[in-house]
Symmetry: C2
Subunit: 761 residues, 2 copies
């Protein structure tokens, strides 16, 4: 009996040993971005793939190749060596006066003109300390440089190249410049032209409105390159948030203009610079106080500029056309009102075959869909209710819906002009997915391009007949293909393996749905069981939460979008759960806007449903539920710890919002209105008021100079806890912003993990 037992025991040990030899345990350095081994363990990619008209090319380190769309066969188009030879032996006027430092890679190069054999690339020239940045144009037919220009200013950024006129727009400091050749930039903003306006107070050519409303840049070349439209932001009236830099000999102030909810905001105007006359006119929008000028769009003939204008309440959007030459306001084309908020995020897209029609995107029917506007078909405006009953709209031209249904368009890739098709990415197959479709504008018929699985990132060719498709899913590490947009079979260029899956012992990850607290809405969850799962055990469990708008934590992509930390904690013996509560992305506007004026309340109810689901699992210790999240997820984590202390025992909240009055105007007021208009909502979501409820262990972690959730959130929360006699924990990542990157990110996740090891074991 005893001998038998010993035998079985040894056998088990041997099995365990062989298992552990076969598949290793991973560390945070293996699975956290910034970790020393992270890049070795993610599925490989093919950087540099792009279109040169209808020719697929790949800009690589040593050369640029063409790739045959039918066979995948690669042919070298030009080499790094010939580019470097041309650089060394440039003839006037492209002869460099410095000793030329060879270019190391062609990966960042592009071929702007589909009919011309010209490569554009940028590089440093001369010694390492030089801040001069050159842009070169190399003709690989003629095998010589055809243009070159130099930007001398350190800190030049926001480069915007116009292939129509060959100009590069860029910003330096808070000013805007353009350059075409040589080293003579032309100032567009008045300061550089002699007029004195204090930098930081007036900002030219940069993204405004804190990058909300789809704004990600501040310069907009006209279609033929005759004009440069740009944002000008006057923030002289905005209060400074005093950020402190502790890396100087004695700490120094680095103030940051930060308009807080309900406070005075910046004033934005839109300038139009005429390249020929070198004069700027400003669009005659009227008083810009408390208005948002979003989604700047040019008409194809360059005569008109369209803005989607939004009031500070963000519940009334108007599409307005301006005359580009005079700046005059010409007409109102469309307006949309909502009891909660309207959020325009997409510029107009004109049909390439008909300059009189454009596509407008709206959530008026509950989901983001495409609508075709006919500028030549005026109609009597009439106020109509959308399929979203809280939305009203009024159109002054004829509008035809292009898409409809309980799914949403995520991205418009472009057109196949010949076939009158539009190519989009959408959630039609699943809200967890991004699939590609071509849509016939004649018949409305949608044709799937590529797999019906997973998430597809795609680039459309010049004529719209092919896409380069970068596809991943929970099952597929990565497949890169060239696919015809007619839905037919394409050519696979590359199939990646997943080194992490191959080499390491990974946990089991499943997805499913539970009902939201409303009893109707399906919420997607991702459940990760511990590595070497034993169903007879009771494991502690952690919910990783985000919970805010515009994000989704469960997707049909690698590991169902689980982060490396989730995998790591599963390896360490934790059950990991994530749920996309109402309020999160890709489920339509009514799913999202439930939290209007009382952020956190509905979102938490759904997360509590998730916690109850965990507690219902036989292998979860119902008394050991933890929670972790960052940013909005930090708000959720802190809020859950304080609102449901009987459920959540340990939490780590990163960069949390504590009091929405400390958040910025654009994002904050969209969901909360102003503190003046919604005092109850602000009071109810102010976590300081709940500081006395803290029973479990809660660690708050922030970046020392977080410009997004400023330190005032967490610092005032600590004060509230001290006054209430509760004991949160706290940590700062000095000089870091809203998120930790690189090695700090590994350190951070080690810290977060340790907290659960200490208190939830």
């Amino acid at each position: 009996m005893k001998r038998t037992f010993l035998f079985i025991y040894l056998f088990c040990i041997m099995i365990a040993a062989s298992f552990s030899q076969e598949k290793k345990a991973f560390t945070l350095n293996d699975v956290i971005p910034g970790g020393s081994n992270y890049f070795n363990l993610i599925p490989q990619n093919m950087p540099g793939l792009q279109w040169w008209g209808d020719i697929c090319i790949r800009t690589d380190v040593e050369d640029i190749k063409t790739i045959d769309v039918k066979t995948g066969k690669e042919t070298v188009l030009l080499t790094l060596k010939e580019v470097n030879d041309a650089l060394q032996n440039g003839e006037k006027p492209y002869k460099l006066s410095h000793p030329v430092k060879p270019l190391r890679s062609l990966q960042g190069a592009s071929l702007p003109w589909e009919k011309q054999k010209i490569v554009k690339f940028s590089g440093k020239v001369g010694d390492e300390r030089s801040s001069e940045s050159y842009t070169f144009f190399y003709d690989f037919g003629l095998k010589k440089l055809t243009n070159m220009f130099r930007i001398g200013e350190e800190g030049a950024t926001n480069f915007d190249f116009c292939k129509e006129n060959g100009y590069l727009a860029y910003t330096s400091g808070d000013h805007l410049y353009i350059i075409r050749q040589g080293d003579r930039s032309t100032p567009v903003s008045p300061h550089a032209a002699g007029k004195k306006e204090k930098a930081r107070d007036i900002v030219y050519g940069q993204a405004v409105h804190r990058n909300e409303f789809g704004i990600y840049k501040g310069t907009f070349w006209s279609p033929k390159g005759s004009y440069l439209a740009f944002y000008r932001m006057d923030q002289s009236m905005v209060t400074d948030y005093p950020q402190v830099n502790t890396t100087t000999r004695i700490a120094t102030l680095e103030p940051d203009k930060y308009p807080m909810a309900g406070m005075t905001s910046h004033k934005v105007t839109v300038g139009v610079y005429n390249i020929a006359t070198e004069k700027t006119v400003y669009l005659q929008t009227g008083d810009p106080t408390d208005r948002y000028f979003t989604n700047i769009s040019w008409s194809p003939d360059e005569k008109s500029i369209y803005l989607i204008e939004l009031n500070r309440d963000q519940n009334h959007a108007q599409l307005i056309r301006y005359d580009a030459e005079s700046g005059e306001r010409k007409e109102l084309l469309y307006e949309e009102m909502h009891a909660r908020y309207v959020e325009p995020q997409h510029p107009l897209i004109f049909l390439p075959w008909d300059d009189t029609k454009f596509i407008y995107q709206s959530q008026r029917d509950g989901f983001n869909h495409l609508y075709l506007f006919d500028t030549q078909a005026p109609r009597e405006p009439e106020t109509v209710q959308g399929k979203d009953p809280e939305c009203r709209y009024r159109s002054y031209v004829a509008v035809t819906p292009i898409t409809e249904g309980e799914w949403l368009v995520q991205n418009v890739l472009g057109f196949n002009a010949k076939k009158k098709e539009i190519i989009v990415a959408s959630t039609e197959i699943s809200p967890l997915q991004t699939n590609l479709f071509s849509i016939s504008l004649k018949t409305g018929k949608r044709t799937l391009i590529g797999s019906d699985d997973g998430v597809h990132n795609a680039q459309l060719s010049g004529s719209g007949t092919y896409v380069i498709d970068n596809f991943t899913s929970a099952k597929v590490p990565r497949i890169i293909s060239i696919l015809p947009t007619n839905g037919k079979q394409g050519t696979t260029l590359f199939t990646a393996s997943d080194p992490l899956k191959e080499q390491y012992n990974l946990p089991e990850i499943t997805i499913g749905t539970i009902k939201a607290v409303d009893g109707e809405t399906d919420l997607y969850y991702r459940l990760i069981k511990p590595v070497n799962f034993d169903p007879t055990k009771k494991y502690p469990a952690i919910i990783y939460v985000y919970g805010g708008p515009h994000a989704q934590v469960v997707k049909n992509t690698r590991f169902y979008a689980a982060g490396g930390w989730d995998l790591y904690m599963a390896q360490q013996g934790y059950v990991m759960l994530s749920i996309d509560n109402r309020g999160s992305d890709n489920r339509g506007i009514q799913f999202e806007n439930r939290m209007f004026r009382h952020l956190g309340v509905e979102e938490m109810k759904d997360q509590v449903e998730g916690a109850k689901f965990l507690q219902s699992l036989s292998f979860v210790d119902a008394n050991k539920i933890g929670v972790h999240g960052w940013s909005f997820g930090g708000f959720m984590t802190t809020n859950l710890m304080l609102s449901y202390p009987e459920i959540f025992k340990v939490g780590v909240a990163g960069g949390p919002v504590i009091d929405w009055q400390f958040y910025e105007v654009m994002y904050g007021e969209r969901y909360m209105d102003t503190p003046q208009d919604n005092p109850e909502g602000y009071a109810g979501s102010n976590l300081r008021a709940k500081a006395g409820n803290l029973k479990g262990r809660l660690q708050i972690i922030i970046g020392g100079t977080d410009p997004t959730c400023v330190p005032q959130h967490s610092i005032t929360f600590l004060r509230a806890c001290i006054d209430a006699g509760t004991q949160p924990d706290f940590f700062i990542y000095p000089e870091d912003g809203h998120n930790m990157v690189g090695r700090d990110r590994v350190h951070l996740h080690e810290r977060i993990a340790r907290y659960f090891f200490d208190y939830l074991k």
Copy 2:
């Protein structure tokens, strides 16, 4: 058998229950200053005891009494009621225009003139919101007000009353004023007189040099009240440390002039304001750059002002006389040089019976002693070596030592002029004590006044024949007596009990000595055994450390100076040890200055001897040694955790110095010189360099706007740990300074205790 066991078991429970009924367990609220029950559990005191010439009085809430020095019998001198009657019915010019708010207490009153029946007191008048502060003079012989003046400025402070001329000097903002009656202040600093100097850059009438060199005020009335000497500090050239206030709607900058070691410091001058002419002259010191003007002293005839002037290196002090009327520099009387540093801390004290002689205090013989200088006996200066072989001095007048020996004078209380005696407090009996002596200047004979035990705080009567003695020791909770200065028996006014000792189960506290690492020097320790000590157990142990100059943590006073937190941790099952290492107070300059140019190194060696002592105790778990300290003790704690990680497993460091280059010029450079002069010393004591050594658990705690150890210390340390891959813990008390007070102090100690409960158990 079983029945017997049950019986014994029940019996033990009964004993335990009866013990716990007899003496309670205390909480942090019982033993931490700021705790809700703290004041109920400390030995009672007799506030308001003071001398009115040779009459002992007590200013109480409802009245002011005289106390007979022989019998202790109390007689009411005047009542609060009569004062309030006088206030209500004041006659012109002392009739108040407001409705008068009754005064609530006479505890803060004083009787400035020993021959006059006049009580001086201050109070608010009118409604609660008024910032007006009145000073009243009430004659309890005439039973009426005899003077009154009003200070209208909010934030007026630094009140300095001159009983010779009846003026009150005070500061408001950064300016200096005097007032004598009514509501008309006279500005002394030029800004208020019309000249514009930016507040904060130029500061008048306040303590300068960061309160080092014994400086605690900025105004100095001349002996007859004809002049007001004052400090003027120009700190326009000093860098700002950017402190942030997070309690405003959006956080605001509150910069603080902070001269860091090696950086540009402020410039101080000394003004002399003539009351009669209303003109100011400045002492002609020459260029004030990098010089310290300390210990301002008046000659009794008001003709001269003496400064002890120190160079920035702080190794050369000069006693200089100036002409008060002209500001001219008149003579150098004495100078003292030291290989390490000189630290003048005491103004001159002229003999009351001979205006030509004064007492100077010096550590030139290794301990602070008194020297009698004869201004009328010039002599040829000669450089002499002190008994401290690193000290050299040179005197230009005749000097006679008054005291000598391996003990030090802590305080000069005054004189008995009739008997030509000086009354002092000293460590002659023990370095752990403060005892009172009268010293005959004729014979040098010292006579002990009162008990040879403990620590005595005393006030000397007008003629020097009596002291009010407030005495505490480890054995004596408090005895308050009136003692004759001839050493004879006195009258006991009050014997306090110790409510904490009576009501609560307290730990055993013992003291003793161990040898310093030099094998010779005795170091005093205090050892606290756990409450309900069981010698067969192995307890975790914590060292509470300070370790820096000018402080001592073991004294013969209540609980041998153990803090409430030490007692609490002993109650929670920890052995608590404290040691005054070399570098600490009351042991002489050579004991102190061992750390010169390499702070921390020698101090830590001694603390390690303490840790070894702990490890040698049978009831201490040698693997569970923790450490906690604040300020310099925070520096020591962090340093010990990083330098001796094999010994110290858990530490809590409060408001620590991390890098002496971030500390201020005066204190920092005294011990470390400048970073330019002592780069090795600064590098060696920079704890960031050791951040990678962290093995145990270390929590750093700071006040959010600590103006003493600015946040840059700890914030840069966190960065160093992150970069080195170690994991300290961290907490901030928002808006708190260098120390937490009130309820925050209880919260803080709960936090510190919890950390040891979590990780050292």
